[in-house]
Amino acid sequence: MASKNQGPAAPRALVVEDIKVDLVVLLRMLRKLNCEATVAHNGKEAVDLFLEGKTFDIVFFDKDMPVMTGPEAVTKIRGMGASGVKMVGVSADFGGLEAFMQAGADVFVPKPMKLETLDAMLQEVIGKKNMSG
């Protein structure tokens, strides 16, 4: 699923989620905020995208996924030198906060994510993109 830019400041999002319902809702929220997204169904698919040279401004990781978990993927992607991308851990599991922050995520958001929370994060990313030119 390819990303679609809505303009020069539109953030490029990656959603890493294996549960269809959760994926569909988050993608719809992103679309409502004029942000199309690329999808990975587990942590390994996300890592492979970065290995292919794909770049994103913000990545949303579910915690527990087959093949590779969200925290594992965050650790690997940070290890590849991806320091500029905002990494968001998303989970209904209370243990998700510690797991994601220890792995190197920038922020943890409990599921289900509110539209206002998502909007605020995207606005922050847009602001940084505009400042960096």
Partner: protein, 151 residues
């Protein structure tokens, strides 16, 4: 047909679902994601939820019958189901999922079995109620605009 009356009935039905604790605010968030481009988004997501949740429940049922008892596997399945329940605002189902997970944490087989039956019961009841709600909404919509995804 009195469409405004049907809409009032749908609104009353939805309020009842909230008052009885079947749904929480997240359901409204899902409905709020609808617009002209995606007018049936909520029903599509709910349909997807019931397809996925039926599969998960079947997986859990099979896992519960196996030996040795694998509380980690049971917990992992139920965590997925709980997550999906959260995403659509299925509050009572989510509570039962959490109870099941607590019993898993205690290694309480009997508790897990009883709790799982409650999860199944809540799943069936919610499915019936939401099916009726969306059927009413389709009837209340513009004539000829309704399509019915399989639930």
């Amino acid at each position: 047909m009195d469409y405004s009356n049907l809409r009032r009935q749908a609104a009353s039905m939805k309020k009842s679902l909230f008052d009885q604790g079947y749904l929480d605010e997240q359901f409204c968030q899902v409905e709020d994601l609808q617009d002209e481009a995606s007018p049936n988004f909520a029903e599509e997501v709910i349909t997807l939820f019931f397809k996925d949740s039926a599969r998960l429940i079947s997986n859990i049922e099979q896992a519960l019958e196996k030996y040795p008892k694998d509380f980690n596997k049971w917990d992992a399945y139920m965590q997925q189901l709980k997550g999906s329940c959260s995403s659509i605002g299925a509050s009572r189902m989510k509570s039962e999922c959490m109870s099941f997970r607590e019993f898993c944490g205690q290694g309480n087989v009997e508790g897990c079995m009883k709790s799982f039956q409650k999860v199944k019961r809540e799943h069936g009841v919610l499915r019936q109620k939401l099916e009726a709600y969306f059927q009413l909404l389709r009837q209340a919509g513009p004539a000829g605009a309704a399509t019915r995804p399989g639930m």
